[in-house]
């Protein structure tokens, strides 16, 4: 309860522990031909942490990380700051970025078969990363690749070295992608919808694998997903994005037990329950706003049942509502203030 009283606006979204900050993003914005799609992201990622990024299509969850890694096309206008271990990553020379990408920060995508080169044997593709980022050469490449294939649970690893991507299933190709990402011994693995294209039982295998690898190697995991269930089981901390902004960020248990932003509450209510009584689903009415027609105030205001007049004009800042729990909602802050007032009174009485 003491936490509730001590609410204060936070300028940047801090990590669970500020000492272990590995990656810091401040005021990151992205414009595509004059249209702002990412509207100021602040976040800190600690070493070994697992962070889930949730949002619907167009929320900016992928663009955040593509911008962070300098993977957006030149036409995109990126500003803000991204620091890895205190070193700025935005706008640095491509040659320096190439050492970071794949080496210190690796990314895997939804569709593994389109991310792999179809005419090069998978062993060679993984070997390239080993040679470039780890300086492995000669016969060691084959041995190290086999070790990685074993690590990601690719069956018959030695023989798979000479296979082409089309000879493997979707789940196996995703394992190859993970092996390739691990080849650079990254500090951060960014996984963008890594299981969306996979079957349910294979999704379970891959999520299990990512968690095991994170525990064993101590790398941080950023899991981008539209599926609250997927991040809930894999991540310690969750960030919910909407309309190019972070609307809520909190430890996983806290966000599901006590969602504070009306959008997060709406998302959870819209999910069909998997146990307990059936009820009519409660959709969030309306549509996700287009970046070119973003409402002037809170991006969620037009769809929000709790909106007040002020929500239409003012962009709510991300504010700490309880320990480690941040929400960008004016209406919520008002209710919270009333509640903490009650706490004060009860303490006094």
């Amino acid at each position: 309860m003491a936490d509730l009283v001590g609410t204060a606006p936070a300028s940047a979204f801090p990590a669970t522990s500020s000492s272990g900050a590995l990656l810091t993003i401040e005021g990151l914005t992205v414009d595509f031909s004059g249209v702002r799609v990412l509207r100021g992201i602040d976040l800190t990622l600690s070493r070994g942490e697992s962070l889930g990024i949730v949002g619907e299509s167009g929320s900016g969850k992928s663009v955040t990380w593509l911008a962070t890694l300098g993977l957006l096309p030149r036409t995109a206008n990126v500003s803000g700051s991204v620091q890895l271990d205190g070193q700025e990553m935005l706008g640095v020379a491509a040659s320096r970025l190439d050492r970071i990408r794949g080496g210190r920060v690796a990314m895997i995508f939804q569709d593994p078969s389109s991310a792999l080169n179809p005419v090069i044997r998978i062993g060679k593709q993984v070997g390239e990363v080993l040679a470039r980022h780890q300086g492995v050469s000669g016969a060691n490449i084959r041995a190290e690749t086999k070790r990685l294939f074993d690590l990601v649970g690719l069956p018959d690893a030695a023989r798979r070295f000479d296979a082409y991507p089309h000879e493997l299933s979707g789940g196996q190709n995703q394992r190859v992608m993970i092996a390739m990402a691990l080849a650079g011994k990254p500090d951060v693995l960014v996984a963008d919808e890594p299981t969306t294209a996979l079957d349910a039982t294979i999704q379970a295998q891959i999520l299990d694998l990512l968690t095991t690898i994170r525990r064993e190697t101590g790398m941080a995991l950023v899991l981008i997903s539209h599926d609250l269930g997927v991040v809930s089981e894999t991540c310690e901390r969750i960030m919910v994005m909407y309309g190019g902004r972070v609307v809520e960020a909190a430890p996983s248990d806290s966000i599901f037990a006590n969602p504070q932003h009306p959008y997060t509450q709406g998302l959870l209510a819209a999910l069909p329950p998997f146990d307990g009584a059936l009820h009519r689903l409660i959709p969030i009415e309306g549509q996700v706003p287009e970046p070119a027609n973003m409402p002037p105030g809170c991006p969620f205001a037009p769809r929000c049942a709790q909106r007040m007049t002020v929500c239409k004009e003012t962009i709510p800042p991300l504010t700490q509502t309880e320990a480690g729990h941040f929400s960008a909602c004016i209406a919520g802050a008002v209710t919270e203030a009333r509640q903490s007032l009650k706490v004060h009174k009860s303490v006094l009485a």
Binding site: A204, L207, D227, E233, S252, L271, P272, P273, L278, P283
Partner: protein
Amino acid sequence: MTENILELHGISRTYSTRQGLFGRKVPVHAVDEVSLSLQPGQTLALVGESGSGKSTTGRIALGLELPNSGHVLFRGAELPPAHTSAWRRMRTHMQMIYQDPLAVLDRRLSILDQVREPLDIHDIGSASERNNKALAMLDAVGLNANYASSLPHQLSGGQRQRAVLARALIMQPALLVCDEPVSALDVSIQAQVVNLLMDLQKDLRLSLLFISHDLKVVRQVSQRIAVMYLGRIVEYGETNLLLSNPTHPYTKALVSAVPVAGRRTRERIILKGEPPNPADRPTGCAFHPRCPVVRPECVSVSPTFSTLPDGRSVACHAVDAAQPTKEVGI
């Protein structure tokens, strides 16, 4: 007992595929001895992973594809041969919607034109009557008249799926086959479309064959579920029984793999290996290479259906061993 609107009796569908460029042809059993029935106004869900044959089963149910053996009964009568005029008349009573609405809409035709098109084709009513009917249908799926002149690319994903639904429902079909209808939609929009589908089902007394890999959505919409694995049904029964107490080891794994928001620690069954290639179907029970409770007979003998006391059908030797009563058939 009410008459079933749709019955599939032992349908099988085999494709032949070449292994390699000059390899020999091998048969792929996409659907193997599948029997199902659907009662009017009810929803039967077909669940399974890619390659399980659930979409092929849906296409066979509509006569879009012919089974190599077995037969399909719609309202008790066998489907006329495909693309004959009798089949076309019959097909107005059965429609299909797919996962990707943009792929099935004509990009150059307005939404109103596309929804009205079936009425034009079947020459029903005067031009103004057709227009009004199409507008009323658009209204029923929650698209107001402002959207009538829009082109598909001007609508959002959820709105497009509504337009597809309006087009499928304008002929007042009795049976709607939905192949992953909400899989491509965002969660908040998915709930809108699921609610709409269930409202329309009640209002129009639609029977739904609902093909999906999403067990959460399936739980919401269906009364019965058939779980398919490599072309065969492995478990078939009432939705609440099947999901609360799955019996087949594959169903158990599927149910345990459902990611539930807010649930962190639980016993998840992680299956070994990948779903095998349908062209290289394992002997005996097709699930045996991945099965956590595999028995010696599973490798060689294909399990037949037994009926559980609660009416469910399960094809599993391990379940048979635990259940003394054994009957054959669905």
